[in-house]
């Protein structure tokens, strides 16, 4: 029975990747051809380079570990650094401050009033800046004055002589 069973097993069950045999042939031949042509890279080393290498590396390690480590953040350096930083900030503020365009809305009303008061403007000059529509009298006289009050004002404050000369 067992013998007959074994006879029935025709394959081992092992498989190869697709196209393996055609590929492997090409790969082996490529490799052989290349190695026939160039077997080494042609790079060389200076004489006795490897002999002296160990000493070189050791002396490097020693000098590195013997070098005194100076903290970068010493007090004095910090002071210099902050001085430079402050100078830079100042410089940027003074020289590189981009000239901001001031809009009319940014100005305080008081500043405008002061400006108008202090500068020597005549009312005609001011009026020339305004359009006809803006110049109607309603804008200037806010309180309606009665004829009586005008009369009283004139009687109190003006002399008849003055009025006549005018």
């Amino acid at each position: 029975m067992t013998k007959r069973k074994l006879d029935n097993i025709k394959t081992s069950g092992f498989k190869t990747p697709k196209d393996y045999f055609s590929q492997v042939e090409e790969q082996i031949l490529n490799d052989i051809h290349l190695k026939d042509k160039v077997s080494n890279s042609g790079f060389e080393v200076p004489d006795s380079y490897f002999e002296s290498l160990e000493d070189t590396i050791f002396s490097k390690i020693k000098t590195e570990s013997n070098t005194k480590v100076i903290s970068l953040l010493s007090w004095r350096k910090l002071m210099y650094a902050s001085a430079i930083a402050a100078a830079m900030v100042l410089m940027f503020n003074v020289y590189f401050n981009p000239s901001e365009t001031v809009t009319f809305e940014d100005l305080q009303t008081v500043s405008i009033e002061n400006y108008v008061e202090q500068e020597d403007f005549t009312s005609y000059e001011l009026a020339s800046l305004l359009t006809e529509d803006e110049l109607n009298t309603g804008n200037f006289i806010t309180t309606q004055l009665s004829e009586d009050s005008i009369e009283n004002y004139l009687l109190d404050n003006a002399t008849i002589e003055e009025l006549i000369t005018e």
């Binding site: 290349l34 160039v38 042609g42 790079f43 060389e44 590396i57």
Partner: protein
């Protein structure tokens, strides 16, 4: 690949201050040439290789206490050497304001004048062909072709599957063959 009989003991000696120096000397003796050639094939010139090799060993010496032992010591050192080589190239390229590919072309064109390059025409052409490959294929090709590092070890060093490494190597060989036979 590993030449250390008892790696655990050896690492213990490397991390103990009283035995550190002797153990490190042994490590240097064992790996200096192999690491040198690994680095040299990446950076090409002897002076650069010398720089990178020294930095690699100094890093190993200083950081041995950080070595966790989850991979073999040699693959850890190869990984440091690989990273150091690549960052060395990038640093040089940045300094010269080149891309690392441009720098490599420039290095190869300087090989003919290099006193430590004894190659003839075909070896020079081989270096030109390697320089055209993508970085990963270059690494795999150099490690397999010139140093015969096993795929299994390479897989740990480069953190890539063995299958992918084999494929990379065969693609690299094919491209180089084509380059060498084109004229």
């Amino acid at each position: 690949m590993t030449f250390l009989d008892n790696e655990q003991d050896f690492i213990q000696r490397l991390s103990t201050s009283s035995t550190k120096e002797d153990a490190f000397k042994e490590l240097l003796k064992l790996y200096k040439e192999r690491l040198y050639w690994h680095i040299r094939h990446i950076v090409k010139s002897h002076d650069d290789a010398d720089d990178v090799l020294q930095n690699t060993f100094i890093k190993v010496y200083k950081n041995i206490h950080n070595f966790k032992g989850d991979s073999k010591l040699f693959s850890w050192m190869y990984r440091i050497a690989t990273n150091e080589s690549i960052s060395h190239i990038n640093k040089n390229a940045k300094r010269a304001q080149f891309s690392s590919e441009e720098l490599q072309q420039y290095t190869i064109s300087n090989l003919e004048a290099d006193v430590y390059f004894e190659g003839d025409e075909i070896q020079y052409k081989l270096q030109q062909a390697i320089a055209i490959l993508p970085e990963k294929q270059q690494l795999v090709f150099n490690m397999k072709y010139f140093q015969d590092i096993k795929y299994k070890d390479m897989s740990v060093i480069l953190d890539t599957s063995e299958g992918a490494l084999k494929a990379s190597y065969h693609i690299a060989v094919k491209k180089i063959e084509a380059y060498l036979t084109q004229d």
